[in-house]
Point group: C2
Chain length 413, copies 2
């Protein structure tokens, strides 16, 4: 029997979220979300939309006009770009080095692309030569990459790929969901045609809005598939020559016309999420993007030192690790899920489990966004050590803390 | 030159949003959104997800197991249902009585459906016979309806359509975005196979989350198109016999597996929007769904009395008007946009303009969700009358207020 009295007001317990994301939101972002709504064509609202475009151009390091939000989780930004750019039958190349490479294949397949992949073992990344060789063989229309794949904690170097893509006439996309804001990303300097991200990792916000940026070349590709909605079509409108985009929600031509001066009605912008996205960007740019990335690098390094000091083994090629997440090999003497449960139940600290080939083999510990902080790293290390000791795994008592502390001392932080 | 100091914290002006939506969010919903985040598989989080399913079953008046949220604006819920249910080549019938009927056609076309329509002039609705006749002729697989089309303010009666659909073996969907929570909707009693909604109208929340419900029959249709994501696929998984769903984000089979006990990772649930959706439902059910609908009816009626008392003409067949929005014919003596601008600039009250054939002909005034209140109705009427008088349009001074007040007095409200 339904009784509304059983449903009390939202009151989540305090958690320190040190997994691969989502992480705790910056309280300033949560406060921004609590602002009252305004109408979608209110000049104040369209002003905020324009500001979001300016702020994210800074974060993406781009002059791209079309830098905006897709209303949905990070995956909505990926799908909007792929559905808008890929025509059925187009060849795409996906270098897969973890789960999110498989996701790009999966989405591209749903776009009815001809999907080609190259793979390296989980824990490694590709050299530019490996990717260029594959491009020469496959001759794809698009190269779809993941910058930081949280499933393996690896960061694919992208700096040289834009030049390769240009040489071979290939459109270049990267999914920066997990890396954005905590690792260097240079949209224009690296020749990226499209990038998508999310708020819930290094940006310190909640999931539910996906910032994207599109190059002029990508805009042109999308405009060729223009198809105006019947309910708002007038005589001036003309459709493009290419096959239409098989989604209304993810038709980025329509999303551009909504964010652009035409303000053609498409969806009703998710106002509270836009407030969140704006505040995330504002906080990062107040700190300075490079300063923030250096902060992620520092706390990532302190975490590595602490984990190694504890006598635990790290996962993957450390030189290619993302700043904001670390794979830790689960010692054979303990049960990984038991450790995670004790951390959550007794310390209210969440660390991540793993997928696929790494399931049960590594934990993933994140230090990102609002939680890329000394106190978060030190609390997580002490709690983890205490839990491991409790379960009978001997660490070099206290060494983890000292090693992490040393990293901070050397930087006077 | 970019300067972060130009970007101050979010500080929207107070607005009284009396258009067709979005409207002001209930402050309790905004406070719920400001709650700190928790992990997506935290037992507290999955507990909240389960509660959301229970709460929305009450709001949709259904026993449907699959009653959940799609992460995006209202349009994302529509598209998720249409993309998941419509196989390319399927015939669909859309009775169009306003802009949002055209939107269903547009989305169905993107799903590569064979789209058939019947139309009535804007301001009218269909009889069950008109719809049954079209079903007999077209023999569609799905009937796609809009319950309340804000573009015309009309509410399509749906009660008899489920029986007709069952008789002809047709799946029955309605887009209840604009009507949900402010007008009667009986998912099970009316034989609906799928319904989608949004938070930003009568539910009193922000745009960005779309509650949906699916019948067992609809589930079966979707399960026949099952296609498991490669990155998380195991040997036990089997794909369905029907053509796959051409979207990953909107594949409701995957969304079900994420909301169900399998908790198969799909997107990262938009936690703050889920908090909002839960609080919207909780507030309505504390008041009582029927009590809330009666409140919408009362304030809608008071608004009609006030507008008529002012000597203005209402739009469309009043007996089929939605409770929560009224079309008001713009008197030829004034310029509609000038009135809207004065209301916004000088009173901070927003009323709606119109689309398509009604552009420049009617205003749309909403009384919904948190703004279905006596003070909102009376303030809007006095401000509108004052603006009209200022622009030289003579009203029967004071009669509007008295007429609306009389409605409230008769009900002792």
């Amino acid at each position: 029997m339904f009784d509304i009295q059983h449903f009390t007001q939202i009151n989540p317990p305090h958690r320190l979220l040190m997994g691969p994301g989502p992480i705790n939101a910056d309280p300033r972002v949560l406060r921004a979300m609590a602002s009252q709504l305004i109408g979608q064509y209110d000049p104040v609202m369209t002003g905020y939309m324009n500001e979001v475009m300016v702020l994210y151009r800074e974060l993406f390091r781009t002059q791209n006009r079309w830098t905006m939000l897709v209303d949905g989780t990070s995956r909505s930004g990926i799908e909007a770009i792929l559905l808008s750019a890929i025509r059925p039958g187009d060849k795409v190349l996906v270098p897969v080095f973890g789960r999110f490479g498989h996701l790009l294949c999966e989405i591209a397949r749903r776009c009815r692309a001809e999907v080609h992949t190259i793979e390296v073992p989980w824990g490694e990344v590709f050299t530019p030569d490996q990717i260029e060789d594959a491009i020469k063989t496959v001759k794809p229309r698009l190269l779809l990459t993941v910058q930081g794949d949280t499933s393996t904690t690896m960061l694919q170097p992208l700096a040289e790929l834009g030049e390769i893509c240009r040489r071979h006439g290939v459109l270049f996309y990267t999914d920066a969901t997990a890396s954005f804001g905590g690792n260097v990303l240079e949209t224009d300097a690296w020749g990226l045609d499209a990038v998508s991200a999310g708020l819930q990792k290094c940006l310190g916000g909640p999931s539910g809005s996906s910032p994207i940026t599109l190059s002029a070349q990508m805009e042109e590709v999308i405009r060729r598939r223009k198809c105006v909605e019947e309910g708002i079509r007038t005589a001036e409108h003309q459709d493009g020559d290419d096959e239409m985009i098989y989604s209304n929600y993810f038709d980025l031509g329509m999303v551009m016309d909504y964010w652009g001066p035409e303000r053609l009605n498409h969806h009703t912008e998710a106002t509270s999420m836009l407030f969140a996205a704006r505040e995330c960007a504002r906080i990062i740019l107040e700190e300075g993007l490079d300063v923030g990335i250096a902060r992620h690098e520092l706390h990532g390094r302190a975490l590595v030192a602490g984990i190694q000091g504890m006598g635990l083994e790290t996962f993957g090629t450390l030189q290619h690790k993302m700043n904001n997440v670390l794979g830790v090999v689960i010692p054979s003497a303990v049960h990984g899920e038991e450790v995670r449960k004790m951390l959550l139940d007794d310390f209210h600290i969440e660390i991540g489990t793993s997928f696929g080939p790494l399931q049960g083999k590594i934990w993933r510990i994140g230090t990102m966004g609002y939680n890329a902080r000394k106190d978060c790293v030190l609390q997580t290390l002490t709690a983890l050590e205490a839990v491991l000791n409790r379960l009978g795994f001997k660490t070099t008592q206290g060494a983890a803390m000292q090693a992490a502390w040393d990293v901070y001392s050397q930087e006077n932080r």
